[in-house]
Amino acid sequence: MATLTSAPPNRQAAPPAKRPRKGPIDWVREHIIAIVAALVFVYMLLPNVIVILFSFNQPAGRFNYQWVAFSFDAWLHPCAPPGMCTAVGLSLKIGLLATLVATILGTMIAFSLARYRFRGRAATNLLIFMPMATPEVVMGSSLLTLFVNMAFPLGTTTILIAHIMFSISFVVVTVKARIAGLDPRLEQAAMDLYANERQTFMKITLPLVAPGIAAGALLAFSLSFDDYIITNFNASSSSITFPMFVWGAASKGTPVQINVIGTVMFLISFLFVGLGQFIAWRRRPKG
């Protein structure tokens, strides 16, 4: 089938890969979109590969930018850099708490938006959208002014508050999409079959929306664990999260262990998502 050509993209990183030596020009033209897509994937995933790769590096100096030698050292002593594991611990703690609260609040909002007509929809939609579109600098700095003006001490609590704030919107979007995809006739069928509202929700709605809620929670956790800018604005010297640790290390010296943590996070996330995909694949309609 005829394919579309787009303007040749200006790739910054990956070299214009092997022009297919085999096969005629037609093959290229037909598959140009797919080729471009593949190259874009390389561009997107190359840094991840580097991170994982360099967790096995044995750097010569304080920084981990040049490949020197292969070593398991960092993996065997993951908590060697002072303060790193504490930072990871704090990030995990904040991440889990923020995820819990944001998921609950966001799911409630998602149900409201997806299932009810009410006055103030437009304003609600806008309010939910804004945190996703606002630059982190603005959100972080404005929260700082709030806390300063209220003379509220900065620290773990303020970080937590901020993380919940910016995660809610993402949970709403994810869960709302899932609810929207849910056939309302399923709930009608349940009520027709003698399930009252509560039973319908627990037995039908919730199980079917659960994957969306899980996805939203996962997203919230990733956003929280990974956040630097907003966290930095609202932290104190005693509340160092993992991204803050990395930032500090970027100027002073990057221990290989931060790559180890990065790789572990990558694998865990991959596992979760892969699991989700696998479950969906198992449930696929046959034939």
Binding site: A2, T3, P47, M130, T134, V137, T263
Partner: protein, 304 residues
């Protein structure tokens, strides 16, 4: 405009339950309250802070000192401009690169669709700071990229465009923009994909039938139908990119300073809160204007 995307799609039926009293509002209340208190109110305090005078030691008082804005702007307008230019380039590049990717996943991936989507968000599985640091490795002077650019003459092109100085790629505007594009690419691809995925493939077939050349079919059918995704992706890329400073700090040099860095510095090092707040608020207002234009054209239902 957003309604066009629903042609030929089985969009979910709009909510039908007449507002059963208080239930929708009760569900909304906790979350929205949180957002109001911790998102909206801070904007107010930000504005208020920008109009105060004083210092950390002596305390601040609200004096409606609008001059802070003019002072800040006259000092830092180059950084503002640079931020928007970098963000614009990054967004354009992201659109250029991301569209074919989204297109492939939506229409040409068959059973691999799920896997490919996972790959699109896979970068997020590692901390973005680490990934941006990885670019320092990739673009370093004895890395393969530099060698390749030199060999193919691409380096000369970049030099001519003033995007690099000398033979290195790191600490250059080029690196910053490359990093920005990289970091926000998924934010462009996902809305694009969502929009493309909703297009009924029969519409594309009809287009291919009607218009002789594939590019015409694309221009007249696919592109307009994917507009909601393009707009959403553009908003979600341009705005955060304009406020970013990680990329310019890690991959750039003092001449590539973006407004985000200035705000950060003013708040956390110089401790000039009013100026910092003024800069931050100006950035926010610019964003609000952009979003308002979008909402005015397309309404709010497609936002969330």
């Amino acid at each position: 405009m957003s309604a066009i995307a629903h042609i030929g799609t089985d969009a979910a039926p709009p909510p039908t339950r007449r507002g059963k009293g208080l239930v929708p509002y009760l569900l909304l209340l906790p979350g929205l309250l949180w957002l109001v208190v911790f998102f909206v109110v801070p904007m107010v305090t930000l504005l208020s802070q920008s109009l105060q005078t004083g210092s950390i030691d002596t305390g601040y008082t609200l004096t409606w000192h609008w001059q802070t804005y003019t002072d800040a702007f006259s000092l830092y307008w180059p950084q503002f401009l640079r931020s928007f230019i970098y963000a614009f380039v990054a967004t354009a590049m992201a659109l250029l690169i991301g569209y074919p990717l989204a297109y492939t996943i939506a229409f040409k991936s068959g059973k691999w669709k799920g896997v490919l989507l996972v790959l699109v968000i896979a970068p997020f599985f590692t901390s973005f700071l680490l990934r941006t640091l990885a670019w320092q490795t990739i673009l370093s002077s004895n890395g393969i990229v530099v060698k390749l650019f030199n060999a193919t003459g691409l380096m000369n092109v970049l030099q001519a465009l003033n995007l690099v100085n000398g033979d290195q790629l790191l600490s250059t505007p080029f690196a910053v923009m490359a990093g920005l594009t990289y970091n926000f690419l998924p934010f462009m691809v996902l809305p694009l994909f969502a929009s493309l995925d909703r297009i009924d493939p029969r519409l594309l077939e009809a287009g291919a039938d009607l218009y002789g050349r594939p590019f015409t079919a694309f221009r007249k059918v696919t592109w307009p139908l994917s507009m909601p995704g393009v707009v959403a992706g553009t908003l979600l890329t341009f705005i955060p990119a304009a406020g970013d400073y990680i990329n310019s700090k890690l991959l750039g040099n003092p001449n590539t300073t973006m407004i985000g860095q200035v705000i950060d510095g003013q708040f956390l090092r110089v401790l000039d809160y009013p100026t910092a707040a003024a800069l931050s608020f100006t950035l926010m207002v610019t964003i609000l204007v952009l979003v308002s234009v979008y909402v005015w054209r397309a309404g709010t239902e497609e936002l969330v």
